[in-house]
């Protein structure tokens, strides 16, 4: 879309909208290059030729301006949030439609606003999904039907803990240690209460919802794309969570063997 010169106000609007698109992507689990590219696309499409973005795993730095266009600079800090891939997919779709010329800048902004508030899954659905996922992975690693039942229960409790205790109130480290320990305790109580025959498989299945799959995969992809800073931050995040889960499970085992006088595991 060839455009005549933008005035300063229009340019600012384009830049703000581009940042907003980037913000939504980054916050909800997109890779760095996708964020940078989307910002660039929005700038170019609406005629800001000097737009420039530098994206880190938790912030977006943008500037625009040269001898013909006005100056604009903005830094936005973006805390690591939950993963909502539906929003990433929606922004991607929107950017594709924008390239086909279906949106004015105002419409694009309105569309982004509605993506931003796109509802996630309800907590009860998430808790249930965590239970089902735990049971399925328990089966995958060799558990029988009773083990799956216990893993289902542990998965439910775990995600209730993640949603209502760990995510809003605890740091990542304490939250994941607590999660690992909680799973181990719940599974141990089920096991000694007679539900389930293989404590190991029960625990392996039910810690799966804690595993940082998004950070791990995105970290690798960012590093492969040459975004080393963001990639290492995300990998560090993943490794930290892996370690914390292991520590949580280990601590719970130690406590249990202290209470039970050595549990026959």
């Amino acid at each position: 879309m060839a455009k005549e010169e933008l005035d300063e106000k229009e340019e600012k609007e384009v830049m703000e909208t581009a940042i907003m698109a980037g913000h939504i992507l980054l916050e909800n689990g997109a890779e760095i290059f996708r964020v940078e590219e989307t910002i660039d696309r929005v700038c170019r499409h609406y005629g800001v030729k000097s737009g420039n973005a530098f994206v880190l795993s938790n912030g977006i730095f943008t500037t625009a301006g040269n001898e013909r266009e006005g100056y604009f600079a903005k830094v936005q800090h973006i805390p690591v949030g939950g993963t909502h891939l539906n929003r990433v997919a929606a922004v991607n779709q929107l950017s594709r439609e924008m390239e086909e010329g279906l949106y004015t800048i105002k419409e694009l902004r309105a569309a982004l606003e509605s993506i931003k508030t796109m509802p996630g899954k309800r907590p009860i659905t998430q808790i249930f999904a965590s239970g089902v996922g735990s049971a399925a992975f328990c089966c995958l690693f060799g558990g029988d039907v009773w083990d799956m039942g216990a893993a289902f229960l542990a998965g439910l409790l775990l995600y209730a803990y993640v949603l209502f205790v760990s995510a809003p109130h605890l740091s990542k480290i304490v939250g994941n240690i607590g999660g690992g320990a909680l799973v181990t305790f719940v599974c141990a109580f089920c096991y000694f209460g007679g539900l389930g025959n293989h404590l190991n498989f029960m625990i392996i299945g039910s810690i799966t919802p804690l595993i940082p799959g998004v950070a791990f995969t995105n970290g690798i992809r960012d590093i492969a794309d040459g975004d080393y800073i963001s990639g290492s931050v995300r990998m560090l995040d993943a490794i930290l969570v892996f370690f914390c889960i292991a520590i949580g499970v280990g601590m719970a085992f130690s406590l249990l063997s202290g209470i039970g006088g050595g549990i026959p595991l």
Binding site: R34, A129, P209
Partner: protein, 150 residues
């Protein structure tokens, strides 16, 4: 075997729900996760588990990229949940279990295996993302999307 693949599919769909994947993509996520586990268990019966993880990761990513191009949506949507069955969650568990029960040799062994599996997954991801996007778009008419958008 069939039961395991089904479990992998159900598990993958459950996790794609947790990550907020749009509902219409659940079947693809499930199929990709199931296919990954199928390849993994076939390969693991012949080769080392790390090699099996590498091969299975490559299959998962090939399928994810193909589906992403076909469905025109970010590859992340399929990739993250599809790779879940392969991530060494069991390795983490056994390592900490052996550490706590003072079986250091076994702990080292399983920890090392878990790291090897993780490296295999990393390599699988890196190798397959090296394939140019246009390979995946063969058979689809040239669109105004530039290579990296998907």
């Amino acid at each position: 075997m069939i039961g395991e693949i089904l479990a992998a599919m159900v598990g993958t769909v459950a996790f794609s729900l947790l990550f907020g994947v749009p509902r219409r993509y659940y079947p693809y996520c499930g199929l990709i996760g199931g296919a990954g586990w199928w390849v993994y268990s076939m390969a693991a019966s012949r080769w080392e588990p790390e090699l099996a993880a590498l091969v299975a990761t490559m299959v998962v990513i090939l399928l994810s990229r193909t589906t992403a191009v076909w469905q025109r949506c970010p590859v992340t949507v399929f990739l993250i949940s599809g790779i879940f069955p392969l991530v060494p969650g069991a390795g983490i568990y056994w390592t900490s279990y052996y550490i706590v029960t003072d079986q250091l040799n076994l702990a080292l062994h399983t920890g090392y295996e878990a790291v090897k599996t993780a490296v295999a997954i990393v390599l699988g991801i890196v190798f397959v993302f090296e394939i140019p996007q246009k390979v995946f778009r063969a058979g689809r008419k040239q669109h105004e999307v530039t290579p990296r958008q998907l």
